[in-house]
């Protein structure tokens, strides 16, 4: 009954639609939701998905490739170059020490040195998919923890190529068919001498870089000029698939190639177009990937060897965690960032599936051990997100940066209590200005480095996730007058607003909104005071342009005030409409429709001409 593709698609989609909202509801990351969905529909619970789970896994790994392409797009080549030391240093240390220790561990357990080495390779790698997805969801990409995780993962992506290359050397038999997922086809270079292989690899990297400049961008321009939207989607997919194919041809990791391709295109004008086009594909494929991992957990193997598997499982996680903790210490990470890193990368990653099955084909591993290690891998991937939650809720508040610090009572005993959530670029400006008035806001932030610094500066700061009611309550929301939300991520903002509105409706909310869309949402949630990033500053810039062209500053000043006021009014009017109209599918189209509406409003109002105050010309005409 599991035969048809249609049925499989329905099973996976239904699993996702059912499980992910539940996971989200309990405050877990979507990754965990997908994994649980996979277990649920897998062969051992509902049995909707059978052995073909493995094939789906290979297919879904393409999601990881896309994710790395998208991450590459976010990284300026110059920044990438600056990261090289962390990548090699942290990544190298992590992989080398983990391999060394786990090699020893498996030797002690009585495995042959070749087997131990192969397994230790798999163990040293972490999951790019899980880690980066979690980082993105929590908005921690720009913290020390995020950057270090990314550096280590990138190094692993590079080193895995050499691992795959080294495996045949451990084998006594030549691989009859190399059927690892990254090289479904035959590796073109297998029969070439080593120096030619190296040359080919270098050439393909150069090919990607130059193709980015001289082939891909002109191609995208061509596609854009046709104004057929799906052509851009096709081009975007073509780029990622093409790079992956080229990489597989020369035996490199497609993920790495895609990342490189992304970096090359990071400065092109199509950056955002590519991002918005590929994002849904990536998300779906990644979801599929996590579900396939969940479905591939072989509970039969666990039942046969429960002691052995749980032993290895615990040993692997502890070992990886200890090494990560040490690496964090060597690179002088703060304790809580280090703890986040320790738990965040403690799983075995998706590359292990590739390495292990390749080693099996090479006769290095037997079937039993491979199955066992595959199960361990999938289990670590399921367990670490849970461990991360425990770490955040139980350990971090105690060690690392404390959620709060006791302060002398006279400071807290202020008449009007203001809570400021988020102390990034936006929040810090707000906080500094308030302080210049002697108003000491209670600050909530999720960056421990910032929190420590602010405490040194004498602010009252709480560390942690502001959408947790208990943290808000210990920050004193119960007797606060005003809560300022200066949060970057709209989802966090909405969650915070919803939470506070429900439980403490008397607290006045002053909320930062990134743009009109977020503002609409907030208006419809009943927020009165909304501050759009893209309003005042843009108008100010336009004023300066007009002033430079020779218009009088004071007139511009009045006109700007008027413009802002009417824009705010329009915002409130349009917010009501936006609720009734059906959702747009394409963001770009929605945006154009929005601009059209705004321009119509301006035209209708015509306020550029009706400012007749002090205009002697009018009186003069009247008197003549």
């Amino acid at each position: 009954m599991t035969g048809s593709i249609l049925f499989q698609a329905i099973v996976f989609l239904a699993g996702a639609v059912f499980c992910v909202p539940i996971a989200k509801r309990f405050g877990l990351s979507s990754v965990l939701g997908y994994l649980l969905a996979g277990i649920l529909i897998g062969p051992f619970l509902l049995g909707f998905v059978g052995e073909e789970g493995g094939d789906i896994l290979h297919f879904a790994e393409f999601g990881v490739v896309m994710m790395l392409f998208l991450i590459g797009l976010e990284i300026d080549p110059k920044d990438f170059w600056k990261m090289r030391k962390t990548i090699v240093g942290m990544g190298g240390a992590q992989v080398a020490v983990t391999m060394l220790l786990s090699h020893g561990l498996f030797l002690i357990m009585g495995f042959d040195w070749k087997v131990a080495l192969t397994v230790s390779m798999a163990v040293s790698l972490s999951s790019t998919a899980i880690t980066l997805q979690t980082l993105k969801e929590k908005g921690l990409f720009n913290t020390t923890y995020g950057a270090s995780s990314f550096s280590i993962l990138l190094f692993q992506d590079i080193i895995v190529i050499f691992m795959l290359g080294a495996l045949p050397l451990l084998s006594t038999v030549a691989p009859s068919h190399s059927t690892d997922s990254h090289g479904d086809g035959v590796n073109l270079l297998d029969n070439l001498p080593l120096w030619l292989q190296t040359l080919a690899i270098l050439l393909s990297v150069v090919a990607i870089i130059s193709a980015g400049r001289y082939l891909i961008v002109p191609m995208l321009r061509l596609a854009a000029r046709t104004r057929v939207r799906e052509l851009l989607t096709a081009s975007a997919l073509l780029i990622v698939l093409g790079i992956s194919f080229l990489m597989e041809l020369v035996g490199l990791s497609p993920a790495l190639g895609a990342f490189l391709g992304g970096v090359v295109l990071a400065n092109s004008e199509f950056k955002h177009e590519l991002e918005s086009t590929l994002e849904p594909f990536k998300d779906l494929l990644l979801g599929l990937f996590f579900m396939a991992v969940g479905a591939s957990i072989n509970f039969m193997v666990i039942r046969e060897n429960p002691g052995m598997i749980s032993g290895i499982l615990v040993a692997v996680i502890v070992l990886k965690a200890v090494v990560l903790f040490m690496v964090g210490a060597i690179f002088k990470m703060k304790l809580d960032q280090r703890l986040l890193l320790t738990v965040g990368l403690a799983q075995i990653g998706e590359f292990a599936f590739v390495l292990l099955s390749f080693a099996f084909q090479l006769n290095i591993l037997d079937k039993v051990l491979m199955d066992m290690m595959l199960v361990v891998t999938a289990l670590t991937m399921t367990l670490t997100p849970i461990l991360a939650i425990l770490n955040e809720r139980l350990i971090l508040p105690r060690y690392g940066t404390k959620e709060s610090e006791k302060r002398p009572v006279d400071h807290i005993a202020k008449k009007h209590k203001v809570i400021l959530v988020g102390f990034g670029h936006f929040g810090s400006t707000v906080g500094r200005f308030l302080r210049s008035y002697g108003v000491e806001a209670t600050i909530l932030d999720h960056d421990s480095g910032r929190v420590d610094f602010l405490r040194k500066m004498g602010f009252e700061v709480y560390y942690g996730d502001a959408t947790r009611m208990d943290l808000l309550e210990s920050a004193g929301i119960a007797d606060a007058d005003i809560l300022i939300s200066a949060v970057d991520y709209p989802d966090t903002t909405f969650k915070l607003v919803e939470l506070v509105k429900k439980k403490y409706p008397n607290v006045k909310l002053m909320v930062r909104a990134r743009n009109r869309y977020d503002a609409y949402e907030l208006i419809n949630m009943g927020v009165e005071n909304i501050y759009r990033e893209s309003l005042d500053t843009s108008v100010k810039l336009a004023c300066d342009v007009l002033s430079r062209m020779g218009f009088r500053k004071y007139t511009l000043h009045r006109q700007a005030q008027k413009f802002i006021k009417s824009d705010e009014e329009g915002l409130r009017r349009l917010a009501k409409q936006s609720r009734h109209e059906e959702e747009y599918i394409f963001k770009a189209r929605e945006e154009i429709a929005m601009q059209e509406k705004l321009l119509e409003e301006d035209l209708r109002r015509g306020f550029f001409t009706d400012d007749h105050h002090w205009d002697s010309e009018q009186m003069r005409l009247a008197q003549q």
Binding site: R552, W614, S616, E617, Q623
Partner: protein
């Protein structure tokens, strides 16, 4: 040659034919600093230290503004309120401006005829300008009889040109420290006999 500072306040300068012509004639004159308040402080955030420094560097101060509701535009009043500080411009030790000359240059829509006991504005322009006169006096400055361009709505281009030339000539007189009519001698600078001849 005495340095002249024109403190100019007009919220809608770009629409004022009269003031554009007047300003054009004196703006780039030698040893004249043209200081455009509404252009410099569109948000009314006056830089008091800078204003004081400007005042100190000049010996002749011109208050040039349209005559709105029998007074000056709000930024000019803001300027007076903020810049003429106690202890600096007036008060026991406030003598930074002592001895400087002040000339008020105003433009009015209504003609001279309506600014008198029989006209619809009841009082003369000089009477309306008493607060400014007294302000200058309190700061130890010499308040000259004002230069007024009146009935601007009906001025012909030729008449306007004449006024502009007069404005320029008055500034030249002030710069060269030539005797100029004080308030006691005449109502307006416009009444100076030598300027009259220009018409």
């Amino acid at each position: 040659m005495k340095e002249v500072l024109i403190i100019f306040a007009h919220p809608k300068f770009e629409q004022s034919r009269t003031n554009k012509t007047l300003v054009q004639n004196v703006k780039s004159k030698q040893a004249v600093t043209f200081h455009d308040l509404y252009e410099r402080y569109p948000d009314f955030d006056i830089d008091v230290d800078y204003e004081k420094q400007l005042l100190e560097e000049h010996e002749v101060i011109i208050w040039h503004h349209p005559f709105y509701w029998y007074s000056c535009p709000p930024l000019m009043k803001q300027w007076i309120d903020l810049v003429l500080e106690y202890g600096w411009a007036y008060g026991p030790e406030g003598n930074a401006l002592a001895g400087k000359k002040v000339l008020q240059v105003i433009t009015t829509g209504g003609s001279e005829k309506v600014y008198c006991a029989e006209g619809r504005n009841m009082y003369s322009v000089n009477q309306f300008l008493r607060p400014f006169e007294q302000t200058a006096r309190l700061c130890g400055m010499k308040y000259l009889s004002p230069f007024a361009v009146m009935g601007t709505h009906r001025l012909s281009e030729k008449e306007l040109e004449n006024y502009a030339t007069q404005y320029r000539q008055i500034l030249t007189c002030l710069q060269n420290d030539q005797p100029i009519q004080s308030l006691k001698d005449c109502v307006f600078q416009n009444d100076l006999p030598e300027l009259k001849n220009l018409n």
